[in-house]
Symmetry: C2
Subunit: 438 residues, 2 copies
């Protein structure tokens, strides 16, 4: 750290600077407005990589580099879902799920079977499912206080629904968007086909579209849907993690990583998921430099590529670290949106967790109180085997699934103060962990 500064003063400098500067919001605006739809392998993702590297240099990183990552390449084409019932047609808002196969040219026209879950699917069996479109209609349980728990309860239908339905001869699946929201935005996301099961087209329908379809099915169980998805998969291609480093003054060969993922779904600006997390990592570098804080260990801001589809950014980063024998001390991920900060989750227990929890006293002036067990994240998970302490940045996530994987995740849904309280909180925590050798 810089000579003679008390931790409290460093943290105050971080927060003051974060809340006054415009760099973060400008970076976020660029990523959202100039590189929306940063799907791995897309042109937008290439522009985002270039921009992130430049932003890290401007923020003051000692070195900035790109790390090659093999990524899948999948493209959405035209898509539509029309209900045909009693000679009337109703168009539903749908979004093809990532990695889905296309429908046959001209689309599928078939009856629909609504199911709540895999058990109901099984009990209906081949005789009721074969040739039909399966509609997974279960909404997220809004009563669960942790919004991620509500999401987790239904995202299984998005991920596994296509193959499960295909086992009974379904021709396609329509999955209610995995969200607590009730609006007309469909929420996309990856679907995973099991080996040796026919691959059938899969789309998410908006929450209100799901209600419409359920309601139409009640009055006309024999209605048909006309489903078109013209998506395509391409051979794997090359993309990049973007890494910026502040060299450590005392233990330069020990690393602390903080970051988010630079890719996003193709239908969204990906403001909360996860341009905001990337911006906070860039800010961490800028805040250390601005306050002239020299960390003991090397601090890296890492913007991972391909979190959304197959996580090769995270696995590549960890694999290279292992190959080089790098010592990874801690790793933090910000990928739960950039709402108001509540705290951090630590993949630790016992005395270590106790010590980490005691850091909360430094955050009381900023009303950041939650220092609990938990944390980790998809991109940093692989670093655990290298001994890194995994940390999850925990903002308030009550409204996160209003945005997640949908066209509703736009720049203007991010509040400057909420974003920047998070940037300063992350920089402060990384600083304290390094300073106190925790």
């Amino acid at each position: 750290m810089s000579s003679g500064q008390e931790p409290e003063a460093v943290i105050k400098a971080f927060f003051d600077n974060a809340l006054s500067g415009r760099e973060a919001i400008n970076n976020l605006e660029y990523l959202c407005r100039q590189t929306p739809g940063r799907l791995p392998g897309s042109q937008a993702s290439v522009r985002a990589v270039r921009f992130a590297a430049e932003a890290l240099k401007k923020a003051g990183a000692d070195s900035v580099w790109l790390q090659e990552v093999t990524v899948p390449k999948w493209e959405r084409g035209r898509e539509s879902c029309t209900v045909i019932s009693q000679k009337k047609t109703t168009s539903l808002s749908v979004s093809t799920l990532g990695l889905s196969v296309p429908t046959v040219p001209g689309g599928i026209i078939a009856e629909v079977v609504e199911v709540k879950d895999f058990e109901q699917l099984k009990s209906l069996g081949k005789e009721n499912i074969s040739g039909k479109v399966v509609f997974f209609s279960q909404p997220a349980d809004n009563r669960l206080i942790n919004s991620f728990s509500g999401y987790a309860g239904v995202v299984v239908f998005r991920i596994n629904g296509a193959s499960e339905a295909a086992k009974y001869g379904a021709s396609a699946v329509i999955v209610r968007s995995a969200t607590q929201a009730t609006h007309d935005f469909p929420h996309t996301g990856v679907t995973r086909y099991q080996d040796n099961i026919p691959k059938i087209p899969a789309v998410a329908v908006s929450p209100s579209g799901a209600e419409t379809l359920s309601s139409l099915l009640k009055s006309d169980p024999r209605l048909k849907v006309h489903l078109i998805t013209e998506c395509r998969s391409f051979p794997d291609t090359i993309s990049w993690n973007v890494i910026g480093e502040l060299r450590g003054s005392l233990y330069p060969d020990e690393y602390i990583t903080a970051g988010g993922h630079l890719d996003s779904w193709d239908i969204t600006e990906g403001a909360h998921d996860d341009a905001g997390g990337c911006v906070q990592a860039i800010e961490m570098i800028r805040l250390f430099k601005s306050a002239n804080v020299k960390p003991k260990r090397s601090i890296r801001a890492v913007m991972f590529m391909n979190e959304e589809i197959s996580g090769t950014g995270g696995t590549t980063y960890a694999a290279e670290a292992m190959k080089k024998g790098e010592k990874h001390y801690a790793a933090l991920e910000s990928d739960r949106g950039v709402m108001s900060p509540r705290g951090f989750g630590f993949d630790a227990e016992g005395e270590r967790l106790q010590k980490l929890s005691e850091l909360s006293s430094y955050f009381r002036p900023y009303n950041i109180r939650d220092f609990d067990r938990g944390g980790g994240g998809a991109d940093i998970g692989p670093l655990k085997s290298l001994g890194a302490l995994l940390i999850g940045y925990m903002p308030d996530t009550q409204r996160y699934f209003d945005f997640h994987h949908s066209a509703n995740d736009t720049f203007e849904k991010v509040n400057f103060r909420e974003l920047q309280l998070g940037s300063a909180a992350i920089a402060s925590l990384i600083y304290l962990i390094d300073f106190f050798d925790l």
Copy 2:
């Protein structure tokens, strides 16, 4: 309470019900969409009073009544502010401040003096101010962690700026909106004229409009503004507080009040300020009834009228309570927006505060942790003299001033879960205070 229910079970019932039902969001939508601009004495406010009374009946209140309140009546007319500089004109987004006098017909055309604060105003003195429009340009200090502190630092210019500037002969004032936001929405609010000082027109300019005006003044200090405000004040009129009561089973003559204010500024739907607080009070009644919880004391949901201009709803409610010799046990106000709940502030200290703080254990499953000194509110303040414990509902307020008193405070800026976690939290706290006789 209902026979044999543990407090934990009651609270869980409140949260489960709040997060599953649609009553609250429907009530909020009605108030926002059907009664926007609920300024005291307006037609919209009358519709809102009628609706709130009906909603309380539907929620299950044992009795619902209106309490007459004398309110000021002020109406905005056309308003505009045009900068004339070097033969070009630039229109600024302004909103006349509540209770402002109008400009002369056709408006004022005058030079502008930009000042940061009252000291600078004083040092400039009459010779530099007389006949000119004073522009209070100070933005809220974004570095203050409590967004209300940032607001408090500049709202003095909105409230007192007109009379302070008039002392030096100013012809009107333009005040930068009291907000941390940087958008183009002007934020209105009340201004207060001092006795025996000439009343001059006063408008708020949007944050980006303020930046524009500052920038134009730098290149052309002699520029002029053409300011038109056609507002009018009318004689005081009658409006109503709306009150719904659940009769107490054990101490029916002791009262616990929870509520918000039903009026809003005329330029806004007033979703966060404060239709949301009203909806939460209605929900409290509904949640008690739905869970069949019979409070020992009488619980009142009160929707106060005229918080925004002169607070006569709150003073009238307290005065009548005093006149009737009512015992007011506790009073809670929700008027800080309906963002995600963080906790409650209590106007208490010592052992009582300690006991109230210990209630936080019941809220841990809901991630509501902040039980601190503080609280109160404009409408319930007068109940303190009757011995009521004052409580402030404390949501996360980082983005509150994006909305406050502006056209940006709309229905879609409220998240259902955040609103309803608050409703359940308020109902739970009131229940616990009554149950444990705190």
